[in-house]
């Protein structure tokens, strides 16, 4: 009963935060809603007895990644201020009404010459531009993109639910029959991996929770550092490459921007630096 109430509350937090992320006009609000959603997921991890992952979820997702998002949002100069809201319809907070005509009206105010002509020219016959990927992407997205997106999302959800409920009981029960080999070896691996800790769990009956909590971290460490060492090393390489790549990209762009000053108009430069 406690589990159910905790699950329901955290599920509401997760889904509400996710909906706020999708429908927030201000990106800062979206990032803060994202924090709420991540915290709900961390609570679910605790409920599923994955304590280490709950900790990492809060520290890495709620801490590092969202801070990175907010940092970039602030770096790009979009707050709730007047200038930001003036720039919002075309730029950071994209307009909620995604009708093609209105967006085609918004965009030309902010882009320069050529794309204005292209925008106003192609916005009239968007159905024809729908076929031409290049121009339609450049000008404005597909007509009724929002409706299509929502329909695709609900279709996906229906397919998942159908798969879950049509094969649900059989999948879980049949796991011991058909795919039972995988499940059973998985279980046996878990027990074999646990070794000492499982003995501790069995002997000390009074402190089952605490010992399992400690055992979870130890077992996960053993799983990562023993069975998945290669993947762990590849992860280190990936993080190094990502960091170096980000630095190189931003620096190169700086040089290009400086060297291609002649190609840019003063208006672009002024806007780029503001």
């Amino acid at each position: 009963m406690v589990d159910a109430s905790v699950f329901i509350v955290s599920a509401l937090i997760i889904l509400g935060g996710a909906l706020c992320v999708v429908f927030a006009k201000n990106p800062v609000h979206a990032a803060l809603s994202l924090v709420a959603s991540f915290f709900g997921v961390a609570v679910l991890f605790v409920l599923l007895e994955a304590h280490f992952l709950a900790l990492v979820q809060v520290v890495v997702y709620g801490g590092a990644i969202v801070v990175l998002f907010i940092f970039v949002i602030m770096l790009l100069g979009v707050g709730g201020n007047a200038e930001g809201t003036r720039r919002v319809p075309g730029s950071l907070g994209d307009s909620k009404n995604l009708h093609a005509g209105q967006n085609a009206n918004v965009i030309p105010h902010e882009t320069s010459g050529a794309s204005v002509a292209a925008g106003s020219g192609n916005s009239g016959n968007l159905h024809a531009g729908q076929k031409l990927d290049a121009t339609s992407l450049k000008v404005e997205p597909i007509t009724g993109q929002k409706i299509l997106g929502v329909l695709a999302g609900f279709g996906f959800f229906a397919i998942i639910c159908a798969g879950l409920f049509l094969s649900g009981p059989m999948g879980v029960e049949g796991a011991s029959d058909d795919a039972g080999a995988v499940a059973l070896t998985g279980t046996k691996n878990g027990i074999a991996n646990s070794g000492i800790e499982s003995v501790i769990v069995r002997t000390a009956d009074g402190q089952v929770q605490e010992t399992r909590e400690i055992a979870n971290v130890k077992l996960l460490a053993r799983d990562i550092f023993a069975r998945n060492v290669l993947a762990f090393e590849a992860t280190a390489l990936l993080l190094t490459i990502a960091t170096v790549g980000a630095v190189v990209m931003v620096k190169n762009n700086d040089k290009e921007l400086d060297s291609s000053l002649g190609l840019k108009t003063e208006l672009d430069l002024a806007e780029g630096q503001s």
């Binding site: 996710a18 992320v21 679910l44 994955a50 996906f156 998945n228």
Partner: protein, 101 residues
Amino acid sequence: MEVTETWYLLLSAALFTIGMIGFLIRRNPLIMFMCVELMLNAVNISFVAFSDVLDDLSGQSAVFFVLVVAAAEVVIGLSLVVMLYRRKSKVSVDDLAELRG
């Protein structure tokens, strides 16, 4: 009322759907990255739920790796957004159309 793994899978599907809808209907790259994070979290929930059901820790280590890859992806994606913003002084995914060959 007992919490079974079906609840977790339903929640995971709902969260993934919300993230997918957001990715499809929003055109701000920052929001789109956030929606990608939502989808990754949905998959993480189902990983941990299956790990709990099957009593196997491989799911949790998979979540660990997904988390690291998500961090790397966010770093690269946000640097792309910063680069895009410097060029265009406005951030919209439509500008990425100019990246074509």
